[in-house]
């Protein structure tokens, strides 16, 4: 699709907005609709669009496959690690109340970290699955 000028220009305009919107959905998830999963798939969709228009190799230079494979595991590890941190600080597994001095702050911190973990895994998995399929064709 390298020679489709309209697609290239429009997607160049759209992709930053899509990625920014994903971050908005991620960090505004406490207040509006959205959260880690939604943000992850939107971010993934933005990168997949980039890969569709500019080629999988170019997308692989932006987000290297090794980084994505690390991200797949790191997200789940972060989520499970928050649970273990709760255990270490004297609470139960995935109890966020003990993460900070104040239970409500602990909840905020716990939800932030957990959503970050979901985002990392979901976005990495989506981009990885796309490049696995798309990289197979050549």
């Amino acid at each position: 699709m390298r020679h489709h000028a309209v697609l290239r220009v429009i997607s160049k305009l759209m992709i930053p907005l899509i990625l920014l919107f994903a971050l908005y959905v991620q960090f505004h998830g406490d207040f509006g609709p959205g959260g880690g999963f939604q943000a992850g798939v939107i971010f993934g969709a933005g990168m997949i669009l980039y890969g569709l228009i500019f080629g999988v190799e170019t997308a692989g230079r932006v987000v290297p496959p090794g980084l994505l494979r690390t991200g797949i595991a790191m997200g789940v590890l972060l989520y499970a690690g928050v649970g273990v941190a709760g255990l270490a600080l004297g609470g139960t597994y995935l109890d966020y109340n003990v993460l900070a001095h104040d239970p409500v702050h602990g909840q905020h911190l716990g939800i932030f970290l957990v959503e970050l973990g979901v985002f990392t895994t979901v976005a990495s998995v989506m981009i990885t699955i796309f490049s696995a399929f798309a990289g197979r064709g050549r």
Binding site: V25, G29, D30, F31, G32, P33, G34, G35, G36, F37, Q38, V41, I42, G44, A45, I48, L52, E57, R69, I72, A73, G75, V76, Y79, A80, G83, L94, Y96, P103, V104, Q107, H108, G110, I111, V114, E115, G117, V118, T121, V122, S124, V125, M126, T128, I129, F130, A132, F133, A134, G135, R136, G137
Partner: protein
Amino acid sequence: MERLIDISLLAFLAATAVGMVMLRNLFAVAMLSGMYSLLSAGLFVVLDAVDVAFTEAAVGAGITTVLMLGTLALTSSQEKVSAHKTAPALLVVVVTGAALIYSTLDMPAFGDREAPIHRHVAPRYLQETPKEVGVPNVVTAVLASYRGYDTLGETTVIFTAGLGVLLLLGVTRRPKRTDA
């Protein structure tokens, strides 16, 4: 007005589904399935389930369609005509569908506040979230905090899906280095 939107969305959904069944060109079917997801996302918006609509629009209409097209590029774009008899399958589908419709007669009416799902833990979540969790979006509080185990399980499912695809398709030959 909302009823009109519901009826037109559901009519488009049914038309898309019939189109998917009738068509033999799988590229067209993949695009129609993307449309089906987008229409479902519209229905979720009408039902005030914007979180689900987000997910459906991004995953169902966006990523899944791309993956379907990617798969079709690797295989064939024309559906093979099956030699099987279709009458028994039709019978099974009709009987199952009739049983499902029959069972909906027993369900509480849509939006019924006396429905069991609204009488169990939902009132507690709604009342205690501002005090216990302190985030305005109760959906986030339920997903990430009250039901944190479930979300951990879901994230692990995504992890497993990515791992499975990587093991099956990801470890092909390394791309030849042109600069070496």
